[in-house]
Symmetry: C2
């Protein structure tokens, strides 16, 4: 936290001055920075674009997020979409709805957290819009491009026999959410890595860039941002519609045979599941908001990716039988099961009454999402 | 309004299906449309970018806006920023915070209004994000490019003797806001054009494109989106800082000598001002949200622009004395005066307790905005 004099209600001037201390107006990615009606981005290559909102009591709680963490994560969830396309984030715009309680120290800390990630990834703040709002609301649009030596990666293109992989850990952010909801910020002492996974997820940009390069001279990996958990996101990667396919009836569909041994899981996830009397593998499959990457690649590409990509873990193979299994159990049996709603367990309202919707993430081959 | 069966609470599927009926996924401006982690915009020219939020009870009221008008205006205020840079809007992303009361007929009408403007201007919806929200919240990021025969126009570059001009009408949207706040939607019968100016502003894209072309082979006009009224926006165009300059003390500054005869004003503005016992010229100077364009150009360019640009009106000339006057009266005397707060007049809360902030619009040559 910085030592800036507190003011109960910030003027527009003060907000802009605070922002200007954290985000330079000039940047390599910009021909014209903020301050005019539009910013002007350099236009010598196709531009990847993604938008995510980050809302108080929908996506975060002020009771256990610091302002730095809110600023960091609001940008991180957007950057993760760039990672999922193998793109390098270059710039972003920021829409900010500020409640009246926001004071200068709070705003300083918020921008400090956001600028930390922006600087680490050399991203420009290209512009934005400020408004008063009843609750804190952040909407970010992020821009990026693939390296000259790489290619843009989509979710499409999985084929039977392909290796299914993740980069990063799964299930840990879900534990973090559960313990933070139950215990508030003190949960950090007992569950430091789980809480960090929820409060400060690390977008897998470098892994995405490596996968993008691997795709430049061979069949590109299929890749997506694992934000809703494998159980919901794997069918999207494989182009399965509506329901997780329980039978191979009708036309031939892709499927997946996963193997997820317990020793791949984080010790905090295993310990929490044991304390709760739950199956840690199921927790990992349900876990959302990990901001890990989920993908598939040609079988002969997997060994070199294992060497080249940090955190690369092969989980199984793509099949052509329309079935999804993990450790021999059909994932169809798990559909609709949500043990967050089980008696005696915390039931975070953000998951139940305030579902998180994404326009950018419908199943690519169908009109319908899996209902949650 | 369409006849779509009502559902009390829309699922994500239903929202996306509704959206898909109004916005095609494929478009000339896109290499990859929505449905993946990122969309991919064509990248053969620099890309203009701008973001604006549009929030219930901050920027609009549901009591007198139809859902079509909310959808239309949420996009229109963004498109106006493109117009202000002489750019052609090509695509946009949409962040949508939907309260629980939103049903399918409402959403159909909202997208219908938004798609009307998008289709008229041939813009693609490139992606977005959906979330539950306590009040209706729209954040749009819009993309555009200048024509091959034009140039990107900024706010900078005004010189002494330049002609100051507007395209479009001024002050009318302010009247619309006042009568809609006072009387609600029935105000439309008595004040049709004023209400239309507030409910359904027409972004001046074609005027912006003509000005952009005029700037390709000569000194480009300075141009901005007249969204906060001449009294606040003219000093921004001229690079005046903090306060409207009341004296020429210190370094030499630009100024302006305006002439705004009453017969340039819309009859509804004049009639309303007379009924309220106010000066219609002052109303026009204060009027915000007109989404007209304000600019300056070389004196010898003005006559041809008068012929070529629809709604082009010269209001005066740029001076080098740091003074702003209109009809011989110093605008400095008006600073801080807000007759919306006068006894007996409506005092819209959106203007007083919920100021509309824009990151993209600070004075380009200074850190400080004019305080409102």
């Amino acid at each position: 936290m910085r030592t800036v004099p507190s003011t109960p209600l910030l003027s527009e001037d003060a907000v802009i001055a605070c922002l200007a201390r954290h985000f330079p107006r000039e940047h390599d990615a910009l021909l014209l920075g903020r301050g005019d009606d539009c910013a002007l981005l350099k236009g010598d290559a196709p531009l990847a674009v993604s938008t995510d909102v980050f809302l108080e009591d929908v996506h975060f709680r002020r009771s256990y997020f610091t302002p730095e963490e809110i600023g960091f994560k609001a940008l991180a969830v957007n950057v993760s979409d760039m990672a999922a396309c193998g793109a390098r984030p270059t710039a972003f715009t920021l829409s900010l709805g500020l409640p009246e309680w926001v004071d200068e120290p709070w705003l300083e800390a918020f921008f400090f957290g956001m600028a930390g990630l922006a600087n680490e990834r050399r991203m420009a703040l290209a512009g934005g819009d400020l408004s008063r709002c009843a609750t804190l609301a952040v909407s970010i649009t992020v821009f990026g491009e693939t390296d000259k030596t790489g290619c843009f990666l989509t979710r499409g293109g999985s084929m039977p026999e392909d290796a299914i992989f993740i980069t990063g850990s799964i299930g840990l952010a879900r534990v973090g959410l559960a313990v933070l909801e139950a215990q508030g910020r003190p949960a950090i002492e007992e569950w430091p890595m789980a809480c960090a996974a929820h409060l400060r997820p690390r977008p897998q940009v470098d892994a995405g860039l490596m996968l993008s390069r691997a795709g430049a001279n061979a069949r590109p990996p299929a890749l997506m941002d694992l934000s809703d958990g494998i159980l919901r996101d794997l069918p999207r990667l494989l182009g399965l519609t509506g329901e997780i396919a329980a039978s191979g009836a009708g036309c031939r569909k892709l499927g997946a045979k996963l193997s997820l041994p317990k020793d791949l899981l984080h010790p905090e996830l295993i310990r929490w599941a044991e304390e709760q009397g739950r199956d840690p593998v199921l927790e990992a499959l349900f876990g959302g908001e990990d901001y890990a990457l989920l993908g598939s690649c040609a079988p002969d590409m997997a060994p070199s990716l294992l060497t080249a990509v940090n955190g690369f873990t092969q989980l199984g193979t793509v099949t052509d039988d329309g079935l999804l299994t993990c450790n021999g159990v059909s994932l169809a049996d798990l559909r609709g099961f949500d043990h967050f709603a089980a008696p005696g367990s915390p039931a975070p309202p953000r998951r139940r009454s305030l579902p998180f919707y994404r326009l950018t993430k419908p199943d690519r081959t169908a009109d319908k999402e899996i209902e949650t």
